[in-house]
Assembly symmetry: C2
Homo-oligomer: 215 residues x 2
DNA sequence: TCATGTGAAGCACTTCACAGCA
DNA sequence: TGCTGTGAAGTGCTTCACATGA
């Protein structure tokens, strides 16, 4: 398998890796030290073959006849996901939603930390909110460079989303998690991940539609 | 094509329908009245064939040689997605995140409306927050029945997520949009859609990893 | 002529099934 | 023996290419 281009990994595989990591954390908290692909797969709600195939893209992690060392595998997944070091994150937009993200992220026990925030409002600029200093949005280029930030979480009002995204891109941000319903126009090299409540509700709604045939 | 079982529709197709709807709304706001699969596909960031194939699962909506009527297609998508009537939604958990969802949902111009909220806190019970009355969590069975609610948005702390979900299920809720990192155990018949910031961050992080080979 | 709707072909992901190792 | 890692087979989604209709 050599190393393989990162872009050669199937997208569904990448999307499942965080789930494996979470399942492993859970199993670890339940006292497991070694786990078979069968048991881990059940916890992550995939098939054992799929789990083994997914891991195989990145090397060999298990012991035949035994299974996987839980701590070891978490650590390897952290390497693969780029979480070995806590990644600094910039929060843009300190409204209701921004503050909610700020308060909730630590409880996720993730490898990410919001190290700075930005907002247009003069009333928030300079204040420290939930332990994070809020800067004026004009300073983001500075923040990104001095704090070595690659990821931004965008929680501004939808009207200013594109403007903020453009500023983030020229500041050198490489990925944006976009909580606004705006579809951002950014260079292809910038990773955008959409988190959209209304699209999610619409999808859910589809599966609720009545059908005579369905059980 | 007759009618087709709802579960026969490919999941990727279902996931794209809300994007088509959004693209159409945008095009409508730009003054478009008729649109070709080519132009709509560009706006929705899919291929024209994919768009046409997706729509073909549900019938014939276009005019050969012309394209699709924008308003007409939005309306058909609303039918398909079960959004023709505004669906009532129950918000469970009135913390930071719950209030953020409450404030932001209207700006999404979605076919959904939060008609009631629930929380454990006595201090919130009975109050009206952002135009929505907050009830005690013990009342959800009542709320669900009297207001005819099928969808719940779960924004409680992770520790009480499973308990709340169980209560929602026995109250007769059919779908849960889960903003907590908890993996909910519910009957198969209940639709659960996970919205998880830390899993999203991990996925994004993967694509940022340095690779010598990549441009 | 131009764009839809759709079988057929192609591709990508998943599952199977077993060789090989502890 | 038990379970991983992996080619091979199978499945399902996407893209192609064109017949059909306006």
């Amino acid at each position: 398998m050599s190393k393989g281009l990162r872009s050669d990994i199937p997208k569904p595989t990448v999307a499942r890796l965080p789930h494996y990591r979470r399942a492993l954390e859970y199993l670890l908290s339940m006292g497991a030290t070694v786990i078979s692909s069968h048991d881990l797969a059940r916890e992550a709600e995939v098939t054992p073959s799929q789990l083994r195939k997914d891991l195989a893209y990145f090397g060999q992690f298990g012991t035949a006849g035994i299974g996987y060392d839980v701590r070891e595998l978490i650590s390897r997944l952290d390497d693969i996901l780029g979480m070995s070091l806590k990644r600094p994150v910039l929060l843009v937009g300190m409204g209701n939603l921004g503050r909610a993200v700020l308060n909730h992220l630590p409880s996720y026990r993730s490898g990410f930390e919001i190290v700075a925030a930005a907002d247009v409002s003069e009333s928030k600029t300079g204040r420290v909110i939930s332990g994070v200093r809020c800067h004026h949005i004009a300073e983001i280029a500075n923040l990104v460079e001095t704090l070595n930030i690659e990821i931004a979480v965008l929680t501004v009002p939808v009207e200013s989303a594109q403007q903020a995204a453009t500023a983030l891109v020229s500041a050198g941000i490489r990925a944006i998690v976009n909580f606004t319903p705006a579809r951002l126009r950014v260079p292809e090299s910038v990773v955008v991940e959409q988190v959209d409540l209304s699209l999610t509700l619409q999808k859910v709604s589809f599966y609720l539609e009545p059908t005579e045939e369905e059980k």
